[in-house]
Structure formats: structure tokens, C-alpha cells
């Protein structure tokens, strides 16, 4: 059975229009106009045990809202979902004992206390016995290299260290499902990398199912085989991130290095030149003709080095965002 099943999940928010200007404010005092925003609409997906899935999308696309519904924080407006066989928003204790959510911008640690007090608190909340608790704590602090920091007040820790504590706190009870909402937000590159490595390791070791949202491409690219791209509340892509480009781009990038100067005109027969300085050139070439054309070029030019690359994923995603999710159906089959 699948760990997470979501069918036609939707969530809309009511909010009040805020108009600028004094006169409008005065008017608001009397009557406020309410508007409805569809944060998530008709999302369906299935996630198997041990999968590590990334939710990617611009700000306000509905990633967090989806995660909140899956963790039972929000009731959906319509649709169904089960996580570990439970309906999340029924908030059953048995369900809560088996999952965990980490929000990059919200802390569950007691600010003024040493981190180990908060960890101990979670031990009690999740009813973890002493032995497994010490085992998990030893293991996690070892991997994350924060053993010495346990007795330091949380407020004195750096952002990266705090995030590590945050992660430990949420893993004390060995959750089967872990939701991570922007776990690397605001962190420096090294900390980001550390956290990523840890998550990868943890996922492999424990076979826990992980859903991760981020707007850092690197997070998702590095961690998740499967990426779900959400834009304007809809799933616009579900699959391997590296294959996003196959949908839009039939081109490849080749980088050439010559032993002698090659004029621009000579190259232009083979494809679009994006960079050229005589000894080096970068070109975009149609995928289907790649083999034939590269052979021709190797024969014709004094080529020292020759590499073929994919078009960067960012460009594919950009195209997805621009499409506003209209191609949802056709994409889902890929």
C-alpha cells in the first residue's frame, strides 16, 4: 500500500482586500470586501514508502499549504488524502506519533533553554523510552556533529546549528513520514549541503518517506529522484527533475575547445552559437542531429575538447512556470 495517497485535494482561503489610501481605509472600517484565493486546487498524487519527493514551486504556489494539509494542520476545502492510512486532519494520536514536520521558519525549540531540554521534551511528548532515545540522540548528534552544542542555549546557536537541532528534535521518535518545509531557508551554502547530505543518509538508512519543499533547486536536484512542481496551486510536473527539459527542449549544449582559432561563420552552419571567442565556443544543437553534426564538426575543425551538456534545469522550470499549469494533463503522463 502507498504511504501517501492524495486525490483531488483543494484548499481555498478567504481573505480581505487591503486597499491603499486613507479614504479606502476609512471605507474598510465600515465594510470589507472578502476575496477567495485558491491556494491548492485538485492535486492528486501517490507516494510510496521510502521515496524522497521534492515539491518545487515559486513563492505562494501552494507547496506549504499542501504540506500543511498532509500533516493535518489545515482542513482541505475538498478532496481526500491519507497518510500512513490515516486521514491527516482527523489528527489521530496514532498518526501524530508516526510523522514529523519541520518548518524552516518556525521553531519548536525553547529559545532560552539548551537544546537538549527541547529534545527531552519531545522524547516525552512522543513517549520514547530512554534506551532508544539515547541511541537516536547519540547517532544523530554524531552525524550532524552537534554533540558539543547540546548544552548551549538555542538562542546562542547559529542558524545552521539551530536547524540541525530542529531536525534532531523532529526525528527523536523515528517518524515514518517526514515533511520538511524549506529546511535550508536562510542557511549558508555549507550548512545547506550538510543538511542535504544528512537527509539523504537518513532517508537511505531508515527508509522513511520524505517530502521536501524548497525553492532552492539544488536541494531538490540533489536529494529527490522524483520532483513535483507546483505552480498556482496545481501540479505541473511530476517526475525526474532532470527530465523536465525533455518536455520543452529538444536541444543539447555542446562546448568546444579548439587548438586553432575557428571563425564564427564556420560554426553557424551547425547550430545556434551562444558564446564564441575564437578558441572556445558554446552552441545549442538539435538533439536528433547531435550525432551526425558532432561527427562532421570533429572532422572539420581542430577540436581539442568536446563536451555535451543538457540545457540547465532552471530553464525548463521557467518554461513550466510560464505555462501556468495549463499543460497539466499531458505532462502527467510523461
Amino acid at each position: 500500500m502507498s504511504i501517501i495517497q492524495v486525490e483531488h485535494l483543494s484548499k481555498s482561503f478567504k481573505y480581505y482586500e487591503k486597499e491603499l489610501g486613507l479614504k479606502k481605509s476609512l471605507k474598510n472600517l465600515v465594510k470589507r470586501k472578502s476575496l477567495i484565493k485558491e491556494a491548492v486546487s485538485e492535486i492528486s498524487l501517490v507516494i510510496e514508502q521510502g521515496e524522497m519527493v521534492g515539491f518545487l514551486g515559486p513563492n505562494g504556489s501552494g507547496k506549504t499549504t499542501t504540506l500543511k494539509m498532509l500533516s493535518g494542520i489545515l482542513y482541505p476545502t475538498s478532496g481526500q488524502a491519507t497518510v500512513l492510512g490515516y486521514v491527516p486532519w482527523e489528527r489521530k494520536k496514532e498518526f501524530k506519533m508516526q510523522f514529523s514536520i519541520v518548518m524552516g521558519q518556525k521553531s519548536q525549540l525553547w529559545w532560552d533553554l539548551p537544546a537538549n531540554e527541547s529534545l527531552y521534551l519531545n522524547k516525552c511528548i512522543y513517549e520514547v523510552e530512554d534506551k532508544p532515545y539515547n541511541l537516536v540522540l547519540d547517532e544523530l548528534t554524531e552525524i550532524l556533529d552537534v554533540k558539543d552544542l547540546l548544552n548551549i542555549q538555542v538562542r546562542r546557536l547559529s542558524l545552521g546549528e539551530r536547524m540541525k537541532m530542529e531536525l534532531i528534535a523532529s526525528l527523536i521518535h523515528r517518524p515514518k513520514v517526514i515533511f520538511l518545509d524549506e529546511p535550508t531557508i536562510g542557511l549558508d551554502l555549507i550548512s545547506q549541503k550538510r543538511i542535504r547530505e544528512f537527509l539523504k543518509y537518513y532517508n537511505q538508512q531508515t527508509k522513511a518517506t520524505v517530502i521536501l519543499t524548497s525553492h532552492y533547486m539544488a536541494d531538490i536536484e540533489d536529494l529527490c529522484k522524483r520532483t513535483i512542481i507546483i505552480n498556482q496551486g496545481k501540479i505541473v510536473y511530476d517526475g525526474d527533475l532532470r527530465r523536465v527539459n525533455e518536455l520543452f527542449h529538444t536541444k543539447k549544449i555542446i562546448k568546444l575547445q579548439f587548438t586553432d582559432e575557428v571563425p564564427r561563420q564556420a560554426l553557424s552552419d551547425y547550430g545556434v552559437i551562444t558564446q564564441h571567442d575564437g578558441l572556445n565556443a558554446v552552441m545549442e544543437i538539435d538533439k536528433h542531429d547531435l550525432q551526425q553534426l558532432s561527427k562532421m564538426m570533429l572532422d572539420r575543425f581542430p577540436i581539442l575538447d568536446f563536451t555535451v551538456e543538457d540545457i540547465p534545469v532552471e530553464r525548463g522550470i521557467e518554461s513550466l512556470y510560464q505555462k501556468d499549469g495549463v499543460r497539466h494533463e499531458s505532462l502527467a503522463e510523461v
Binding site: 482561503f13 505562494g60 500543511k68 514536520i101 525553547w110 516525552c124 513517549e127
Partner: protein, 270 residues
């Protein structure tokens, strides 16, 4: 929701861990503790102004003598100690949990959300001066009025205080729950604070209709008046029953309202 014994035990244990954490927090900031202590003493003095005023007048107000008045003020001060010690910190932070979205995190914990939000912090600084002053006033007035210091009287008084504590929790938590609907709830707290000040004076200075509302509808007057009324022998049968019924009913109401609010909860950030 079924309430099992082991769940209750877990929550009690959690409460002590929360209390311990609060205490550790105080240890980390000792200066903060002392300044809180001093300030609360100032606060206490400003409340005592009423009883000073009454003694200065030296007359019975609506049939209540200054000494009897001191029973009321003493009880009031003890109730302040209980309120500030157990509840105030939590209630004060309530809206913040919603605004910052930390409530979202608590919601996913296998522990009663209401418990976690409303009994998370214990204040050790504020109750100290109030407890000392309150008990002193009660002992003083007790002697001056010549009330028999029997076990029955003492146990009864403590019992009614307990009943009042539950009512305090319910009545003061109730408006905080409104923060689920309006985010900026500063004035909700304000209104409460003022409501609470009604207890500065015995309920007998208020007209009958207000007394009835304050006892039976929004039992804010219940809090300090019932223990005092018990001591100065003004209790009738109906009020006697109410001492047992009010905490049960008010706790039930606040629980239901809480459930309703959580159901309607939409977190601050979409």
C-alpha cells in the same frame, strides 16, 4: 476523544517538565527573575490602594466592613498569584502562537493542543509577592473577624479556591480563543484585564443584575468572591451548589469553544 488514565498521567508528567523548563529558563536569566519580582511587588501595591482607601474611609460599604473587605482583597491577591503563576504567561503568548505559526507545529504533536498552549509556561516570579501578601491579609483578617480556625473552614476555603482556579482558567482562556479569528488580540486581553479588576472589590458594591451576570453568565466575579463569601458566612444553598457546578460547566464550555476554533483555524500564512 477517549480519556485514558495513561494519557492523563502523561499530561501531568508533561506539565512538570514544562514547569521544570520554565524554572531552568529563570535560572538562565536570574536578573530577569528579580526584576519581575520587584515589578510585581509594585503592581501588588497599586492593587492594595483599594483596601487602603476602604480603611481610610472606615465605613461599612453596602454592609461589608473593612475587615471583611480585607478577606476579599486577600483572596483576590491569592487568585492573582494562581493566575499569574499558572496561566498568565501562556494566555499572554496565545495570539503570538497563531501569528508566528508555531501553533502549526504544536498541532502535529501527539499531546493535547489546548494543554500544550495553555499550560506551557509556569511563572515563578509573579506569584511570590502576591502569595505572601494574600496569605498575610487572609490570616490578619481571619483573626480580626474571629473566624474559628478549624479544619473544616480551612479545607473548605482551599476547596473553593480550587474551584475558583478552574473557573479562572476557563473564563480567561475563553476570550483568548478569539485570537483564532482576529489576529491582533491586544485589546481582548485588555478587556479581560479590566474585567478581572472587577474583583478588586467585593461583588456587593455592584447592582444585583451585574452580580448575577458576574456569577452565573460570565463567572468572573465567581473567582474571588466565592472563597470570601464562604469565609464570611454569606453562602446560601444555591451558591453552595454553584461552587461545584460552575467549574464543570465553564470548563466544558471552553473546551467546546476551543474545538470549534481549532476546526475553523486557518493558519496565518497560506
Amino acid at each position: 476523544m477517549s480519556i485514558s488514565l495513561s494519557e492523563i498521567r502523561k499530561h501531568v508528567r508533561m506539565f512538570f517538565i514544562f514547569a521544570k523548563n520554565s524554572l531552568v529558563g529563570y535560572m538562565e536569566y536570574k536578573a530577569n527573575f528579580y526584576s519581575g519580582l520587584i515589578m510585581e511587588t509594585v503592581f501588588l501595591l497599586s492593587k492594595l490602594i483599594y483596601i487602603i482607601f476602604v480603611y481610610q474611609l472606615g465605613i461599612e460599604i453596602n454592609g461589608i466592613s473593612p475587615d471583611q473587605m480585607m478577606i476579599f482583597t486577600g483572596t483576590y491577591t491569592i487568585m492573582i498569584a494562581i493566575y499569574t503563576g499558572l496561566f498568565m504567561d501562556n494566555f499572554y503568548r496565545f495570539a503570538g502562537h497563531i501569528r508566528n505559526g508555531t501553533l502549526d507545529l504544536y498541532m502535529t504533536k501527539p499531546l493535547s493542543l489546548q494543554f500544550m498552549i495553555s499550560l506551557r509556561h509556569v511563572n515563578f516570579a509573579f506569584p511570590i509577592p502576591n502569595l505572601i501578601a494574600g496569605i498575610t491579609m487572609i490570616v490578619l483578617a481571619w483573626q480580626r473577624l474571629g473566624i474559628d480556625p478549624s479544619f473544616i473552614h480551612l479545607a473548605g476555603y482551599i476547596g473553593v479556591i480550587l474551584s475558583s482556579t478552574i473557573v479562572t482558567y476557563s473564563v480567561l482562556l475563553l476570550p483568548q480563543i478569539l485570537a483564532f479569528w482576529t489576529v491582533k488580540s491586544g485589546s481582548i486581553f485588555d478587556i479581560l484585564d479590566k474585567c478581572w479588576d472587577l474583583n478588586n472589590m467585593p461583588m456587593y458594591i455592584y447592582p444585583k443584575w451585574l452580580r448575577r451576570i458576574g456569577l452565573y453568565v460570565v463567572p468572573i466575579l465567581f473567582i474571588t468572591n466565592m472563597p470570601s463569601v464562604y469565609l464570611i458566612d454569606r453562602l446560601d444553598l444555591f451558591l453552595g451548589i454553584w461552587i461545584f457546578a460552575a467549574p464543570v460547566i465553564s470548563l466544558l464550555v471552553v473546551r467546546l469553544f476551543w474545538k470549534l476554533a481549532v476546526k475553523h483555524y486557518e493558519s496565518a500564512s497560506s
